[in-house]
Symmetry: C2
């Protein structure tokens, strides 16, 4: 497959996968949501090679998910901060965390607990229907072709 054109496929999943669909990118985003911002900090917490980290950060900046912001003038140094587009990936990351909590746990219990500051409680993320508010399940959803596609895939 031509990964360089994946982002133009008439499929929103493909387009998302084109941008964040690899191991390192997802792990880098985890660090971003844990407030990591600097090259050295990413590198040492992930043990990613400097070369790949550099590449992935450039790509995330290019797609508008991170902003490269100077924090020192001399020498010039930058940090990488989530844009709104990047912050909007939170449900993707949290959905993966929740699946891992549910299906990949061990006897030691959860690695992290999440507190919702708004209500003060420890929570799990739940995906609901924007219209009726009920939790979503794959079997209750029917897919239609939208305007961005000729015929439905299934």
């Amino acid at each position: 497959m031509k990964w360089d054109t994946l982002e133009e496929e008439p499929c929103s999943l493909s387009r998302t996968v084109a941008v964040v669909g690899d191991r390192w990118t997802l792990l880098i985003l985890r660090e971003c949501f844990l407030r990591v911002r600097r090259f050295e900090a990413f590198q040492s917490s992930l043990q990613i090679t400097r070369h790949l980290l550099s590449e992935r950060l450039k790509k995330l900046v290019r797609f508008g998910i991170l902003r490269r912001v100077p924090y020192s003038e001399a020498p010039k140094r930058y940090e990488y901060i989530l844009t709104q587009k990047g912050l909007d990936l939170y449900p993707v990351i949290m959905a993966m965390v929740h699946w891992g909590d549910t299906h990949m746990g061990d006897e030691r219990g959860r690695p992290l607990l999440h507190e919702h500051k708004t209500c003060g409680k420890l929570f799990d993320p739940v995906m609901v229907c924007s219209e009726c508010g009920e939790p979503l399940h794959a079997k209750q959803v029917h897919v239609h072709a939208g305007p961005g596609r000729q015929e439905a895939v299934g």
Copy 2:
């Protein structure tokens, strides 16, 4: 990094990424949710090489995300069906689809529309707090170390 031990890291995101964190696996799962079940069907709709498709399907079966179910005795033929563990990946896929709809769209509009059979309406998936039901935003969440980890990462 040692990808073979990623699934044992004390981090639910790492563990999830270890299983579904690559381009082909995510695309294969999309097809699964669109009711694709057979080797030839995956191969022709994704244009994935047969070798990689074979590998990825084996891996998904090994992790209990797909079940390999015979549908013909002679010749022996199998199809791949989502288990409950696999169906539980729906929020992950839908979160990615929704992000793509929101941030990677073009002038043609959405490729697919989703109808919630329960309420009959076209919807978007929304991630909410299990405790108070409010939509989740990264900045309203505070992370604590859980029992499965010694010290918090951030």
